[in-house]
Symmetry: C2
Subunit: 412 residues, 2 copies
């Protein structure tokens, strides 16, 4: 059902020197599926993370924030990431927090470190207790197969309602050296990241100081995972991690260092590909839509309008039906929270077709032209506000019968 | 498909002295269906209206606002309301404005008045030109059957995707007299009124000064139509009208007059019934949900959280499936725009079942109990914030396969 989305070829996923991945079938929710992932880092790696802004954030997200702060202030390295699917450990209160801490303590013991050097991640059903015993039992299995070329299996191990594992690599020449960046992501529903997506992990072999890595990750997230939505439901567990293993010194100190822009571009490009894969695999998706809002006064107002269109169930079902019922887009623009918008200045394009000019149907617009574009699987909606220079882009998908089926049946 | 919603009995709809309704089949979009409604008012009636806040508001909404202002400043009465279905006359620019004005001019000529004494209303597809000729041709037919006991046919004449005509009456004793209030409404999709619903018309025979009528309508709308949502899509055409025909002098001057509170209560109660009928007839609805958020610091923050839950596609599909996947409700509370919400204080009830206490699953909660409530067709979700005295209620419905089918097929 995914829109122009195919599984990655394992051989195309480049190992990142120093970063090892181990996978286990821990039977967390279902038997015989990869559901536990351990990622280990070299001691001189740096790591940056952005997390959901959902106030009901999951226990592992709270712990990630605390552990990152703690290890940074104590100048300790992060040793490993521990990821499970099948259970989100969210809405589980103090008990859930203690459960997640137990898994950190156990993995730290197995790897020879302290609990605060472990970052935990969970994804799956909310409000159910974490099966701590099964996760702990699976750890030795995952550690046993730790390897640098395990990215494909890792992408499979973090899937929930995803139909396709999501992974990609970049190799770029920077300051005379071939720098590798590889990443994986998961997610198909409860997708409207606010700082990050459900789960995304990227790693580069470049040496990048922590402060610079934070800036690079934020910039990449803002241009990728923070521009997608499937259903407007911001998850309790969104986390995006960028690891710099430090295996390769390319002389990066701060954002003015030569080569920094090239690395930023490669990281952003990878993040965007991983984010778009999530939309292409959106639950029940049959169309991939790019919504561009241009000529606004601020990026914020452009994003507000783009999300208003992207979240409208009426717009999404019209695209599912390939029905150019495009007045629904105007309605969604009109109820977006932009107080002083002059709709008599708004133009609307569907790909190259001018549908509405100055707020009304364009005299030359013919339904056949709208119909032609609507039948495509990739569609661009362009909205021009004629009031400034700012713009924003959001990627989303349609709303189909299968979205309802998947989410009505998710736990059964 | 409507949830516990049955057509009104025509004989139960009480005529409002002085208010006459005429219906025609004008073939605006489909042949052989009632699609044009004219409501005439006595010259000493007062009238109040609230309209959509969608900035892409339809031409008829713009004209209603202008005509109301104009007639009030010139102390002229409103003579008639003209309502068509099958076409929203929205997103139609200057041309649509002129079209709507033409229909006002023509009806005014037929009734012996000026164009500004007519209020036009349209509902249906957006972005398509209004078939002015057919509407004008239908006017004499509608005028020909003007009668005070036509409320049932009027309710049918304003339906679009509604499956059931929506109308109700109240008769209350006020200051020794029997006061009648009757109203109709329509709407099933593109429902998240902001000031009013798709279309609602209420009339009372009581004499009510204009300024007082405005206050009464606003208060009724805030407790009824402004508390419902089907899909979060605020329409371009929302309009709610309250007519006081003036046939009965019960001595009302302002909100301190004896009997005013009783009339307000009856009007609000009628408005609430008409609004809830819209949710019960929500496109594809199988469940009617009442979301109550209590113990907040402000009504606004309670409403924000209630709407966040009401609009979540994941919450709505879980209710469709009768699946107590209630963590989705916590997630929607967590991403609602209430900055300083302490989720560790939040309690969640499903009817009488305590699901989550202090932000986490309650130890006594058993899935069977959640399941039992989820199977009902009427369900109350109660969220306690433990931070103040304010509360808010929102009514909504679930998201089913039929919602997708109806909106994917709407124009075909």
């Amino acid at each position: 059902m995914a829109v122009n989305l195919f599984p990655p070829v394992a051989a195309d996923l480049k190992p990142v020197s120093g970063v090892r991945l181990g996978i286990a079938k821990a039977q967390i929710k279902k038997p015989d599926r990869k559901d536990l992932l351990v990622i280990t880092l070299p001691h001189d790696a740096t790591l940056s993370g952005v997390f959901t802004k959902n106030r009901f954030c999951a226990a592992p997200v709270q712990i990630c924030r605390t552990h990152l702060e703690q290890t940074r202030s104590e100048h300790q390295p992060i040793l490993a990431l521990l990821v499970n699917t099948g259970n989100a450990n969210a809405g589980t209160g103090e008990h859930g927090y203690n459960d997640a801490m137990s898994t950190c303590t156990m993995l730290a013991a197995l790897l020879g470190g302290k609990a605060e050097q472990i970052l935990p991640f969970s994804t799956g059903v909310i409000l159910e207790p974490l099966p701590v015993d099964r996760i702990i039992a699976g750890m030795p299995l995952a550690i046993n197969n730790l390897a640098e070329d395990n990215w494909f299996d890792a992408a499979e191990a973090i899937m929930t309602t995803d139909t396709v594992p999501k992974a990609a690599s970049r190799v770029v020449q920077i300051n005379g050296k071939a720098v590798t960046i590889t990443g994986i992501s998961k997610g198909a529903g409860m997708i409207k990241p606010n700082m990050a997506t459900m789960l995304g992990f990227m790693a580069t072999d470049a040496q990048v100081p922590t402060e610079l890595l934070d800036k690079m990750l934020k910039q990449a997230a803002d241009a990728s995972f923070n521009c997608i939505t499937v259903d407007g439901d911001t998850s309790t567990n969104d986390s995006l991690i960028l690891i710099a293993s430090g295996a390769m010194d390319i002389g990066l100190v701060d954002e003015c260092s030569p080569g920094c822009a090239a690395l930023q571009e490669a990281i952003t490009s990878l993040a965007r590909e991983l984010a778009q894969k999530i939309v292409r695999d959106g639950e029940g998706a049959t169309k991939f839509m790019t919504i561009i809002v241009e000529n606004g006064t601020t990026v914020d107002e452009c994003r507000t309008i783009a999300y208003s269109v992207a979240h409208s169930p009426l717009v999404k079902t019209a695209f599912f039906a390939s029905d150019p019922n495009l007045g629904r887009i105007l309605a969604a623009i009109g109820y977006a929270d932009v107080e002083d918008l002059d709709v008599s200045q708004v133009d609307l394009y569907l790909d190259d077709v001018l549908v509405a000019k100055n707020g009304g149907r364009h005299p030359d617009y013919r339904e056949e032209d709208g119909q032609r574009v609507m039948r495509q699987s990739n569609i661009t909606i362009r909205i021009r506000l004629a009031r400034g220079e700012a713009s924003a882009t959001v990627w989303t998908c349609d709303l189909s019968h299968d979205y309802v089926s998947i989410n009505a049946d998710y736990r059964s």
